[in-house]
Symmetry: C2
Subunit: 184 residues, 2 copies
């Protein structure tokens, strides 16, 4: 119970403020518990962060297993899922942001390396190549297309985490980055 409380509040703060900017007392104060109690459940700030990254890893590995027929529909489905749950279950979108955050320098190396094992961009590049052969995805360097798509999603999730009141985009708008032809 306490464990989950702490995790979710930490997720929220790490995502909105950043790892180093989030003081251990920020988390304690936000939950109205003592610092001591926090260390009773998590032996260090780093370990707490590590737990969150591990949680994110599971989620990421899960989504890569989403079944699909056309690669384009894979991206559509994943994106649709992200955008529709972003409002009701903010933590999903926060996890998304956290995983990207954890890959940056400045994060404790051990954790960073773990986070780097998730590589949506190069994983998706393969699917994009398939989609190009099938004619549903536009021409161009698959890696660059994958990069464009995921970076856009990243940017949207990041902003939504900071400003949840801002209206989210429609799935098609973002899907059109990689889509070959409009189905107007």
């Amino acid at each position: 119970m306490r464990q989950k409380q702490i995790m979710f509040k930490a997720l929220e703060l790490f995502v909105t403020k950043g790892f180093a900017e989030t003081r251990i007392t920020d988390i304690a104060e936000a939950l109205d518990i003592s610092v001591g109690l926090l260390f009773h459940y998590y032996e260090s700030k780093e370990k707490l962060y590590l737990e969150l990254v591990k949680m994110g890893l599971e989620g990421a590995n899960g989504s890569e297993k989403t079944p699909f027929d056309d690669p384009l529909s894979y991206f559509g489905n994943v994106l649709d899922g992200l955008l529709s749950t972003a409002s009701e279950q903010p933590w999903i979108c926060m996890m998304f942001v956290l995983m990207a955050q954890a890959q940056k320098p400045g994060i404790p190396e051990e954790i960073r390396q773990l986070a780097l094992t998730v590589d949506q961009i190069s994983f998706s590049a393969g699917l994009i190549e398939q989609g190009q052969k099938l004619g549903s995805i536009r021409e161009g360097d698959p890696l660059a297309l994958s990069n464009a798509f995921w970076c856009s999603v990243q940017g949207i999730m990041e902003y939504h985490a900071a400003m949840p009141e801002m209206p989210l985009p429609k799935t098609e708008w973002i899907l059109d980055i990689i889509r070959k032809e409009r189905t107007i």
Copy 2:
């Protein structure tokens, strides 16, 4: 001379690592100068960051004055400028990232407020509405469209700052987020 050296290195580090994660000694070491010298030119880490944000403010106000006939071409031109200079003059793209970074909680309040005066998203929402009337931009909530577009650009710039070797997207791919009809 030293001033500029320090600013650009600080910009690079603040953008790749974050404000709190960047130690004042990181900057000094990267430039191979003493900490003392750094404080000789900038009275504090915060002031140094403030200077960077002020520099970014000027740039942002400048780009809003880019002339255009069709709103869609405004977005095309600005985006084209950003993407083409991103590789040769990384600092422009870094400034872009810095300004967004500076708006987040965890940044000293005074600086944060200053950074918040730049509001590309609502500024652009007006242009998008125009574009919709002229028929060059797709239907939908102008604010959501503006948000989608700029968040995508943000995500791309952020990732490029961390991984400059990753191929950048073509302007049209991102422009297609807001474009009404493809000019195939």
